[in-house]
Amino acid sequence: MVKEYQIIARNYDLAGRASSDIKRTLKAINLPWDLIKRVCAASYEAEINVVIHSVGGYVTFDLTEQAITLDFYDDGPGIANIELAMLEGFSTATELDHANGFGAGMGLPNMKRSADLMELKSDSYGTHVHLVFFRRNL
């Protein structure tokens, strides 16, 4: 099963809508609760990151017998220093982001913690976050 969702920059009203639909999809096929929660927490963090830091992007959701794969793509401006961005507490977010309960530099570390596999590519044209969650219990 493959799905795709648009993510709009700076739109906090719609932020989380893609992750919400991904959650409903996973619940409908009765995947283990713990796996759903890990996917949703990482997906929500990644979605918020696109809302906060980019000019907009999209996410693809791919469900197979073996794994759930999420790919977040945005159109820039990219992460200047990936090593720094992966550190807990490092953030370039603004007051608006803090007022919405995010932007404390925990997004990428939380994604890494939740996912079984995480790859991050970024340049000035955009960022690609690749997250894989294995369906171990099957």
Partner: protein
């Protein structure tokens, strides 16, 4: 502790009266930063614990409701007399999340709940 007792003790305004079933609340977590809630509550391995939990926050935006949704939590308590906007209340109703609000501060709310035996959720601690 029953949810109805919490509503009474903290003089809560119930924004979702149609959802307010009287359920048992035994655990709690408080944060204004939703990344912290996602990280700590995501470490809970037993779904029963989150079903019996309350998220205490001063964040009145959609994101507190979305965070509860992602974690399968059913009750959000807004503190410090914060008033959510209509769209936040509508989202809570749509996602079947009980939304409450109290004038008590986060510290006092948490302290009183702790005194009444509600346990605080800790990262990676399983009960």
């Amino acid at each position: 502790m029953k949810l109805s007792e919490i509503i009474k003790q903290f003089h809560c305004h119930v924004y979702t009266p149609e959802l307010a079933i009287d359920k048992e609340i035994n655990y709690a977590f408080c944060a204004d930063l939703m990344s912290d809630a996602l990280m700590v509550l995501n470490s809970v391995k037993d779904d029963r614990i989150l079903k019996e939990s309350i998220l205490i926050t001063g964040l009145t935006t959609n994101q507190s409701i979305r965070t509860a949704e992602m974690l399968d939590m059913e009750v959000v308590l807004l503190v410090r007399g914060k008033i959510p906007s209509l769209k936040v209340v509508e989202l809570a109703k749509e996602l079947k999340i009980i939304l409450l609000a109290t004038d008590y501060t986060m510290f006092n709310t948490s302290g009183l709940m702790y005194k009444d035996g509600i346990k605080g959720i800790i990262y990676n601690q399983q009960w």
